[in-house]
Amino acid sequence: MDGGFSSLRLEAVGAVRTALVSAENLQLTLKTELSQEEQALTHTSANSGPEETHRTGGIFSVLRNEDLKEMLESSKESLKLEAMKRIVGLIAKGKNASELFPAVVKNVASKNIELKKLVYVYLVRYAEEQQDLALLSISTFQRALKDPNQLIRASALRVLSSIRVPIIVPIMMLAIKEAATDLSPYVRKTSAHAIQKLYSLDPEQKEQLIEVIEKLLKDKSTLVAGSVVMAFEEVCPDRIDLIHKNYRKLCNLLVDVEEWGQVVIISMLTRYARTQFTSPWKEGATFDENNEKAFYDSEEEKKDQVEAKPYVMDPDHRLLLRNTKPLLQSRNTAVVMSVAQLYWHLAPKHEVSVVTKSLVRLLRSHREVQYIVLQNIATMSIQRKGMFEPYMKSFYVRSTDATHIKTLKLEILTNLANEANISTILREFQTYVKSQDKAFAAATIQAIGRCATNISEVTDTCLNGLVLLLSNRDETVVAESVVVIKKLLQMQPTQHCEIIKHMAKLFDNITVSMARASILWLIGEYCERVPKIAPDVLRKMAKSFTAEEDIVKLQTVNLAAKLYLTNSKQTKLLTQYILNLGKYDQNYDIRDRTRFIRQLIVPNEKSGALSKYARRILLAPKPAPVLESAFKDRDRFQLGTLSHSLNIKATGYLELSDWPAVAPDQSVRNVEVIEPVGSLPSLLLTYSVAVVHTYSDEFPFVCKSSDQTWTVFGFSESGSEDESDEKSSEESDKSSSESESEQKKKKKTKKAPQKKAKPTTVNIPTFGPVKSHELLHHMTGKGLSARYHFPRQPCLYQPNMVAVQVTLTNGSDHSLEEIHIGDRSPASLNLHCFNTIERLEPEASVTVSMGIDFSDSTQAANFQLCTKDDQFSVSIQPAVGELLMPSSMTEQDFCKEQGKLLGMNETSLSLLQRWSHWQFMAFTHVLLFASRFAGRTVSSGALVLVTAESRESSTALLTINTDKSIMASMLLRDLKQALAQA
């Protein structure tokens, strides 16, 4: 056999060799590989059994570590790669490949990116075991951290931070700090991840890491938000104060954050909101009554105060609820669930039901998703039946559901049962009882028992149904029925001695010990109602006592004792017999019980006062058991959490605090920047202008272009930023009155900080009069006239569009209908139309907003404005300034970016004009030092950097750095013109 295989293998070697020879003819030199492969082949044929090669498939697969090492050390890239692939294969299988560490680590600086990545994989896996050798690779990463390619920077940081070697903690710390200020949001995101890694490696770095987190929390990129909140949750979840200033921003960014980040942010904000806002549940009319009482009872003293003033929801609280609601439509089930729990824990009671539909929708998803969602619905449905009642049918069980899904659905159906729907539910339960899945059938019987106790109208019906089940052929069903009947009978034993008799008759056929024990207990408890049967049952038990299960024996002893007390004439001997059997039982529990019972009931000289009370002790009326949901106490955990799912407090579970009685200071969330609250990312809404300047002056400087004015102010003040804002608006008023041709201002404010070291960034929203342009004259438009202006705010529809507001006026004497936008040219023009205006009355006007993507060109956008009957071609042409959005950056970043945009991308113009004296003074004054303005084009987001510098005494140099060179020259022309006019 073996010989056969090796000859086969030799053939294979031959085949490969010829193939390679032909490859060589094709000038594909695979020389080195040839020898390797041959080696591999001979190895396998010599050393390993046939199965092994078969299992792994390829002829190359069984390579020893030496061969791998040799491959790694070879000069051929492809061979190295092949070796690394196999090593990764080994790691994946969980085999130990650590002895190859020195050979692998050499390749860390490889040019081949795939090879490099595989080396990274290896390093991260084994660095912990080979700390000294791992240090060899560190310098490579440090170098890569400075790479111009952001992907390489990011992956270097990822690997560096994943190497769990304590020695490099300071290096990691430095790298994280650097990456946190990187220009690329992707690198910043990676640094947020690295924070957690470093924290788990060395918790002592906490304080420094919190500083980085604080910085990153301020980041306005949606990419970073999720990751940094994750880091926050991991490192310092108790530092709620870090969130205050970022709360509104996070709320507003939420929709645009990637889905995984959304989950993390929502759960953090849930916790935050519970500490910062007052309870919205206090005056809820649809409140669960029991809860309400409990609530007020516990806080009696606060009651007056609370009721004195009506509850007003904090606008921030509302903001959170409003901004999370659209996420219920997410395709990601985790996001939907986290919004659902947010509403459950934070929303006023009458608003919670908005989540119902979405949760029910999740039930269509995978089995595992169903499981978690059903668990949460089960908890919710206990407190709020009404929420899920309309969807009751969605919880009907199918025979194909997994058992744990079935039982959860059953749980929910039971929770939902009320007087109105109980008949439907019971009918449904009847089919379940017949299920082939017996565990499920048993659970159904318990559910019926719960329905019967909760809804008194159906108790009898249920009881009858359960009695019918006693004749079921399946033992588990019968046993479960007995147990449930026992519990039900205990609640109202008077009318049911027939059932007890029936059960006594069944007793012989039942073998499940729990059921037998239950019947015995029932007969014992109500032995006076069945005086004839009880002693007979005891007689039978005496016969089979030794063969019974422990639990049955205990109940037999119990029954004997009770009968002895009520009917000692008939049962005295039987009882003594059973007590004797019990005395010598193997189980000490039973021996114990027997001894205790004997002392209690059999009068003798030693027995004390207790035996007098034996009857009262044993036959005391017992309270009926409460049948309640297994999910009753789950609401102590936050919904959607692992702890809730397991009903145990999981490691790292953060308690949801109770609402504060008095809301903490709301103003902590105020941010200095005036930030319009909207549903779009705030970074876009804050129309911010960044000015980096280290200069002070009191001269307002105005420069105008054909349609826009930039006002530049200087202050020599030392007050707060608020003051400077105030002042600037004053100034702007002044200047607007001064220059009558001025239509609109995009302001750039300069501020003079006291300390030169720190560059200041000031964000100011635009305001001031706007220039509107004619779009359609009412003569050509048959009565319809339209004017447009650029609000100079980020477009709501798409960030790469320029927002345009169009005011439509009906100048005719009849109303116009269906005003909308028709064809457009060029056809590729991407514009966001306004919603069709159904009707515009005469003399009425309406302002609508639309978005146009000009693709960073000043080419006019042509489109048709249509009414029901007419079409008018119109066009909008933007000035180059309208295509720019301000962008804020620090002075350093500015210089860095400028450094990248040299050469072709730089356009400059030196100004040497015949200025009027004061104009000139003002200009040079302002430009005494360099002034820098940063912006981005709306459509493609290309940076546009404007620098004004004064040269010598009479010239000034305007420089524009951008890769949009056409734009640069146009902008320069406009600026020049504006300055000339000033």
């Binding site: 990116i113 089995r367 692992l642």
Partner: protein
Amino acid sequence: MIHSLFLVNASGDIFLEKHWKSVVSRSVCDYFFEAQERATEPENVPPVIPTPHHYLISVLRHRIYFVAVIQSEVPPLFVIEFLHRVVDTFQDYFGVCTEAAIKDNVVVVYELLEEMLDNGFPLATESNILKELIKPPTILRTMVNTITGSTNVGEQLPTGQLSVVPWRRTGVKYTNNEAYFDVVEEIDAIIDKSGSTITAEIQGVIDACVKLTGMPDLTLSFMNPRLLDDVSFHPCVRFKRWEAERILSFIPPDGNFRLLSYHVSSQNLVAIPVYVKHNITFREGSSQGRFDLTLGPKQTMGKAVESVLVSSQLPRGVLNTNLNPSQGTYTFDPVTKLLTWDVGKINPQKLPSLKGSMSLQAGASKPDENPTINIQFKIQQMAISGLKVNRLDMYGEKYKPFKGIKYMTKAGKFQVRT
């Protein structure tokens, strides 16, 4: 968050492991195996299992368990959703997600897992971003790579990662520009013994295959958008526009994706396209049972009911069956007691039926429950809810795309109790 991942096959072997933080010994899976042993069916393994130091969250797909090891509190759905996303990605890359496919592509799998999570937190799960980072293996590419020495790994950060449309890469080019949309509706129903509907609801999805050049902006409008009661969108859909105008406006991802899933409001009555006449009886005392099943179409609006497949889990007492199908083929597995009947197309003139006898275990008592019957079927060119796409428009690009819309109705969990 996610500490490690183990892939376990049907026979209980761990065939792949990946760690994102320090290594967790694979012995942690023993708790999982215990739970697996306790469960009677593979589906009954609880998705969340606590162990002394870790928590195991698992999903079962394609007969592979994906077991994630968690060390501290995390929303379980987060992990479950992620694991499903991993499976979807594998399927997307390798066509199938089987043990063999994963083993054959172990390097790509590893590279993917490395990109998808950083320190246990999802980094890139969007398929188009991943495909730019790691190109899916094809025979051609493997050959080219071996010859030229190039790799499957991208060197640049995918543009999607930073853009506001992370689901679409830039520079997409096609010679044939086409956009196909499949409206697929599934009927979930439980029909009781007498043929009346206990519960029925329609769930639908719109799956799209969009191969368009550049950055097209599409709008899709419906004739009757009111039918849609509860919807969930691909992130590309502009929610505001939907809220205001009931129009789906989106820049589509490149390739296949699920645009929308919806639920048809429960106020609408659901037309049940098939009916079942059944007579399954077991007689007390005899070892024979009768089995009689006839299928027929109803409310199909003239469309043919195709690919009909009937399956039923017969009671344990049934030893064998001797049935006679009027069309199609039937099989009965005496071990699992699963009866399947592949009917094919229903001909309204000659209704398909399956008749015959079942032999029962001698002496065993009559099973007290009749089996439920699960039915699968397909109806082409019809959306049972009546949903109709009104028009599809493209903005932002100059060319004229080829557009196609297909409707289909399928049985979801369609069950008949007997």
